[in-house]
Amino acid sequence: MTVTSALAMVLALILLAIAAYTVAARRTFAAIEGFVAYGLLLSIAWVALSSIDVALTEAAIGSGLTGVLLIGAAARLRTTEAALSAERPGAPLRWLAAAASAAVAGGIAVAVLSLPDPAPTLAPAAAEHLASTGLGNPVTAVLIAYRALDTLLESIVVVFALIGVWSLTPDRTWGGRPGPEHAADPNGILAYLARLLPPIGITVGLYIFWVGADLPGGKFQGATILAAMWLLVMMAGLTDAPPISRTWLRILLVAGPLLFIAIGFAGALTAGAVLAYPEGYAKLLIKVIEAALMPTLTLTLALLVAGASERTAPP
């Protein structure tokens, strides 16, 4: 037990050090490199908190997709950096901000230290009804059975965010391909990686999706890994993002949530409540919903990183 808490202590200190660096670093690129390392360490912290499901999500999204998103933006905004650092507020304002931030952190720390004991928990309630869903992983049961409404709204929010990104397209490139064109070097090391890694990555992504019913994992984590593989192939220039005006793309983007809604409302007829599952069919329906959400989430997450359309669509 003592070894474990020493381990947690070291981990927390490293996390804070690297977080402080991302705030203090002079160059944006250096800060983002720190942030990627921070995301890696944060997923270890989630394992230390026994939240393997969350650790998987953080590993895939936190350091993977968010990192690539930030790097891309920083590369394009590099020219603005020098002018903007002149706008840095003066020392009095910085001290004031530091004092205010410390006060907020202190308040939260006091709240952490005075959390009620014993802690309130819904774990027994979640365990009690786990059998009726046919699932083994309580987090998946929360996501898609007990709190299915949250997950439904989330899958819609993600698509809305993509619509928001697309709506920032200038008129002249509307309907075109997202993001800048990636230069291809078919014999380079990057193309080699982008040919070798995706088959393994797709297998791992589908594996993590599949075991999600009974072990840590699930559609979000699986879809993120698939999205990362697609982005890798795009970055290597071996394939290009589809033009955002494509009909098949738009159908796939709404298919998952629509099926979720349809099964949810069918529950009103067959099981007596919206988003309820009929007795004995819960696990089957849950897997059908998850499988339908997979392509939607994969496309949405990858295209969120790819950004607004910047090149005119081919005829």
Binding site: V3, T4, A6, L7, V10, L11, I14, A17, I18, Y21, F29, A30, E33, G34, V36, A37, L40, L41, S43, I44, W46, V47, A48, S50, I52, A55, L56, A59, A60, S63, G64, G67, V68, I71, G72, A74, A75, H182, A183, D185, L190, L193, L197, I200, G201, V204, I208, V211, L215, P216, G217, Q221, I225, A228, L231, L232, M235, A236
Partner: protein, 95 residues
């Protein structure tokens, strides 16, 4: 034995702090990329060791995800640090 594995995890975790120092010191982006790569490998080792010690094999799945995406951010870094391949003469040279 479990304590030994946990101690090994702690040791590897402590070496991450050294890699961190290289991120802070730089001096180039290439150095920081190396550090991130090292922290990724160290993190995978910590997860495997701690997972084996505490009997949580699912930590291995997190290690798998980290290992899979270890190169992902670095690829984006290298691409943004490298000017596009000058394949045509109409592309202006970047300053």
């Amino acid at each position: 034995m479990n304590d030994f594995l946990l101690a090994a995890a702690g040791f590897v975790l402590a070496t991450i702090a050294l890699g961190l120092a290289r991120i802070v010191r730089g001096p180039t982006d290439a150095d920081r990329m190396m550090s991130v790569q090292l922290i990724g490998s160290n993190g995978v080792a910590v997860l495997l060791l701690a997972g084996a010690a505490e009997g949580t094999p699912a930590a291995g799945d997190v290690a798998l995800a980290l290992a899979l995406l270890a190169a992902f951010a670095s690829v984006a870094f290298v691409k943004s640090a490298t000017p596009p391949i000058p394949d045509s003469d109409k592309e202006p040279e970047r300053a």
